[in-house]
């Protein structure tokens, strides 16, 4: 009997060396773990990835071309459709670029509401990232928990703007409208409940040995390499670079908020995961600070030629009516010039290059999407890993194809 058992290992030798033969596998574009319609040309040696060539453009809708044919205020609704998990961030980058060209000064209340809404949106975006990246690796349960939290935020955004995925809440010069009655209580309720949800996520996933062994040491990118590839946001901070545009190129008054920039040094999937999980708590902190700062006041800049007047003013003042008519019918002229405005979106640096030739329509609008740049670095992280880890790496980059393809 004993001799038979001893014979088995010789028969079933474990294969841990390359096969020496290559095979090409086309992953996507309908693969669920590619977060949209991304196709990867994988060159494989057994299960080892030799080479990855991402193929994008399946969702290309020519948005940058469309901007040139739309008035400045009409462009806002296009931005919603880029990174559809972080539409308020896209709105903010776009309107701030136009405001820079117009030299508008945004009132305090509008700034605070922008910060509040953007941080709520960041939490919602990270919730989708967390849920789907777990789902990609076979952990289905957290997905339902995260979408429950995201639903609460979408309801809050809907109550203010009327839209869930496409709010278009920020307008050039301020906001679409003021916050509705009861808004602050809704947010406060969410803030009170959210730490419990975070603790649940940590219990389910962060402290889970299967999760840790699937993510530690996978998809490593060094600090120098990450900067070279232009990684930004949590993906860069996971490689040990403390860079957050909210702190280092502050906008909408972020410099007055108290928050930390979480960083990790290993540069692997686990590091990027930890950075985002800590960021959730920082965003939670910022939302609470913004909520305490909310004071009554104007929500639109004092620029009647570019900012739509209040409905009430239009009924009482002739000039308001004229301005409203002109802005809607003809648009407003923006002084010639060019700007590049970058904000810290949930996925990294979202930059808008906008150029005006003096008319009501921009001459050129270019979006520097963080997903586009972060995805371009996928080959460095994925080469030499197993095919199942490619899925984990894509999840850790938190890409949205709507923004990559534009």
């Amino acid at each position: 009997m004993a001799t038979a058992v001893e014979n088995i290992p010789a028969k079933f030798e474990v294969m841990d060396r390359p096969l020496g033969s290559e095979m090409t596998l086309s992953m996507g574009p309908q693969h669920p773990s590619t977060h949209g319609v991304l196709r990867l040309d994988l060159k494989l040696d057994g299960e080892l990835v030799v080479n990855v060539v991402p193929d994008i453009g399946y969702l290309h809708t020519g948005m940058e071309k469309l901007f040139e044919y739309k008035k400045y205020q009409q462009g806002i609704v296009i931005t919603d459709r880029m990174d559809y998990l972080n539409p308020l961030g896209n709105n903010l980058a776009y309107v701030m670029a136009a405001e820079k060209l117009l030299d508008l000064e945004i009132p305090e209340r509008a700034q605070t509401i922008r910060v509040l809404m953007c941080e709520l949106q960041r939490i919602a975006s990270h919730m989708v990232w967390f849920g789907t990246s777990c789902l990609d690796m076979g952990a289905m349960t957290p997905f339902w928990f995260t979408f429950k939290e995201r639903e609460k935020i979408l309801n809050i955004i809907e109550s203010a703007s009327g839209g869930r995925m496409t709010p278009s809440y920020f307008r050039i010069g301020g906001l679409m409208m003021d916050l509705p009655a009861g808004f602050e209580n809704r947010v406060r309720q969410f803030l009170d409940d959210f730490p419990d949800a975070l603790n649940t996520f940590d219990t389910l996933i962060t402290g889970n040995t299967i999760w840790q062994s699937r993510t530690k040491g996978i998809g490593v990118i060094s600090k120098e390499s990450a900067i070279d590839w232009g990684l930004t946001g949590p993906s860069l901070r996971g490689s040990g670079v403390e860079l957050d545009l909210r702190r280092h190129n502050p906008y909408t008054g972020y410099e007055t908020y108290d928050f930390d920039i979480p960083t990790e040094t290993d540069g692997d999937v686990w590091s990027r995961f930890l950075v985002r999980m800590r960021e959730l708590r920082e965003s939670h902190k910022i939302v609470r600070q913004a909520l305490e700062r909310l004071k009554p006041g104007p929500i639109k800049a004092d620029a009647p030629k570019a900012v739509l007047p209040d409905r009430d003013d239009m009924r009482k003042h002739m000039d308001s009516l004229i301005h409203h008519f002109l802005i809607v019918a003809e648009g407003f002229n923006v002084p010639p010039g060019e700007v590049y405005h970058a904000i810290e979106a949930s996925k990294g640096e979202l930059g808008v290059y906008m150029r005006s030739n003096g008319g009501p329509k921009p001459e050129r609008v270019h979006f520097r999407g963080p997903s586009f740049v972060n995805l371009s670095a996928l080959p460095v992280m994925a080469e030499g890993e197993m095919i199942a880890d490619v899925v984990a790496i894509i999840g850790s980059l938190d890409i949205v194809l709507g923004e990559i393809d534009r």
Binding site: G62, K65, L243, N249, V339, D405
Partner: protein, 159 residues
């Protein structure tokens, strides 16, 4: 803020006066117009000596078919150490819309240059893999050129 940016331009000028054609300022940003054939040297100098270690963005633009030079390429440099931004601009004429690639300095330029080639039609010499990126490889024309119609040349059809 812009004083610091002007120091970088001064350093650039003192290294080689021909590198800076003109400097313009607006909305707190500084734009340096650089001759097309020295863009790689200028970028290498700014990256190695002035700490602009990240290429935040690269985008092309069409100034219109009647303009000469017609095209431009904008390089948005960023630093992860001093957090300043600088824009370099290169002007290219329609008959010779080509510029040397900076993907040897920053690998992130690879996709940005492919996108610019795809949509504006500017060729980047020495690029390792200059293919279309967003549009299909058999696409006719360059969609972001001003003379390209919004709905394309052929009538839209689902067939």
């Amino acid at each position: 803020m812009t004083e610091r940016l002007h120091t970088y331009v001064d350093n650039l000028r003192s290294r080689n006066a021909e590198w800076v054609v003109s400097v313009s300022e607006g909305h707190g940003e500084v734009t340096v117009l650089v001759p097309a054939d020295s863009i790689v040297d200028v970028c290498a100098f700014l990256r190695d000596e002035e700490g602009f270690d990240m290429l935040a963005d690269l985008c092309g633009a069409d100034r219109g078919p009647e303009e000469d030079p017609r095209f431009e390429v904008n390089y948005h440099l960023f630093s992860t150490t001093h957090y300043d931004r600088l824009r370099l601009k290169v002007l290219l004429s329609e008959d010779d819309a080509r510029v040397r690639t900076v993907s040897s300095l920053w690998r992130t330029a690879n996709w940005h240059e492919r996108e610019t080639y795809d949509l504006v039609g500017i060729k980047f010499e020495g690029h390792p893999d200059l293919r279309r990126i967003l549009l299909p490889s058999d696409f006719d024309g360059h969609a972001l050129r001003k003379d390209y119609p919004l709905r394309g040349y052929e009538p839209y059809s689902l067939n």
